[in-house]
């Protein structure tokens, strides 16, 4: 159906338009309309965090956001965040925070936000911030190290 009004919003700093149904998931719009396949679908029901993106700077689950609610707003995906924070990418690689990588994009987005909000987060704070991002490979230790090893 193409009789939907055009939705305009900002994705990774660029103005984008989409004329899908406003109920469509932001995740599908990013992956299949815009080709931004960095955001992953691990569950489609808000449980795994692999689809995490920033909406107006806040981490949210793109599988639970209807694109209609993004009109006029700012979306940032892992593709852009990794470019903004190469240090985080490097640390995740070096500390064993990445194994299969399916959870990694969501975790990078969440950790990026955490670093902005609280650069010296304690392990307990890191755990809490990551509670919505499941990782089945690492046991989370390597991910914790990605933030902690830099504390000096």
């Amino acid at each position: 159906m193409t009789d939907h009004p055009t939705l305009a919003f900002e994705v990774n700093g660029e103005a984008r338009e989409c004329n899908a149904s406003p109920e469509m998931r932001l995740l599908d719009c990013l992956r299949y309309d815009f080709g931004l396949t960095g955001s992953k679908e691990g569950c489609g029901e808000g449980e795994c965090g692999a689809c995490t993106v920033l909406l107006d700077g806040q981490p949210v689950l793109s599988c639970l956001v209807p694109v209609g609610q993004c009109a006029g707003r700012r979306v940032e995906t892992v593709e852009a965040i990794a470019e903004k924070d190469p240090e985080l990418v490097e640390r995740m690689t070096e500390t064993g925070g990445i194994q299969c990588g399916a959870c990694t994009p969501g975790i990078v987005v969440t950790l990026y936000s955490l670093r902005q909000a609280n650069p010296e987060a304690s392990r307990e704070e890191i755990r809490r911030a990551l509670a919505g991002n499941l990782c089945r490979c690492t046991g989370y230790e390597g991910i914790f190290r990605a933030l902690e090893d830099g504390h000096g």
């Binding site: 149904s21 639970l64 609610q69 509670a131 919505g132």
Partner: protein, 284 residues
């Protein structure tokens, strides 16, 4: 959800007249659907930008919380933190960070799951639910005491076309203590198997005021009236025992995929006992 805003009056009118159109705030309940349900997409009307549903403000003897307030916003607000620590505790245990950034108090209440974490808190804080609907060319408000809002399993006092605008929470009197405990399926990002909220006060080692409510132990979130009356007037330890066993008697939890009736019942009793026992014996 075509046009983002427009007027709330118009929105209520459409909700009353267009079958299948459903209001949406954070979408964290509504968007959870199987691919098949998604393919047969319903239509949603976005309420998240209406000013009438936003904001937190102290007004006279109560605090107004707009329905669209997210759990993240609740945790950050100074007035909520000062007056309603139990609500902050509940908000911080809903889902994970990403969910809290989107999930709203209004959505939690309208969704009316018996496991909703904020619901027992609103019950013990004796919130008033402020509803809005279109009557001709006017938006009318209706105030429903929280105790009368949940009328059956996932059924509420909301009339067709009526929406939740927000909540009025009476300021707690001096010395009123609040407690919240969630027993979830894991340490975080978990649905409650039992959830209990308490507001109460002791004097001279005896329970003077007590309000208790629980979720996941009945078809709706429930006030534990028998537990309350069993405990009031008793010395703290005895009150805790009495409230715990009365709470078990007045509820009939079920077996489901998350837990068993036997566990829920026993743990409800133990958590009620623990929360009552945690009150300061003399709040004066």
């Amino acid at each position: 959800m075509a046009e983002r805003c427009g007027s709330l009056l118009e929105a209520c009118r459409r909700l009353a007249t267009e079958p299948g159109l459903r209001p949406i705030l954070g979408g964290t309940d509504l968007m959870v659907a199987s691919p098949h349900e998604r393919a047969r997409q319903g239509r949603w009307l976005d309420l998240s930008c209406f000013d009438e549903m936003r904001g937190i403000a102290e007004r006279g003897g109560s605090v107004w919380i707009g329905a669209a307030t997210t759990f993240t916003a609740l945790q950050a607000d100074a007035s909520i933190r000062r007056h309603f620590p139990a609500l902050v505790a509940a908000a911080s245990e809903v889902g994970g960070w990403q969910i809290q950034n989107r999930a709203t108090l209004g959505g939690n209440v309208a969704n009316a799951s018996p496991a909703g974490d904020s619901l027992p808190v609103l019950a013990v804080l004796e919130a008033v639910v402020v509803l809005g609907s279109a009557a001709g060319d006017r938006l009318v408000e209706r105030r429903v005491p929280y105790a009368g809002f949940h009328v059956g399993y996932r059924a509420t006092a909301l009339a067709p076309g009526e929406v939740i605008l927000g909540f009025e929470l009476p300021l707690p009197g001096p010395g009123l203590e609040q407690r919240f405990q969630k027993v979830g399926t894991r340490q975080a990002q978990a649905i409650s198997k039992v959830v209990v909220a308490l507001a109460g006060r002791c004097a001279g080692g005896r329970v003077q005021t007590l309000r208790l409510a629980a979720g996941s132990v009945a078809a709706t979130p429930v006030r534990l009236r028998q537990a309350e009356s069993a405990a009031v007037g008793l010395e703290l330890a005895a009150a805790a025992e009495a409230a715990g066993s009365a709470a078990r008697q007045e509820t009939t939890p079920i077996d489901d995929v998350r837990s068993t009736a036997a566990y829920r019942s026993a743990v409800l009793g133990r958590v009620v006992r623990r929360l009552v026992l945690s009150l300061t014996p003399d709040s004066e």
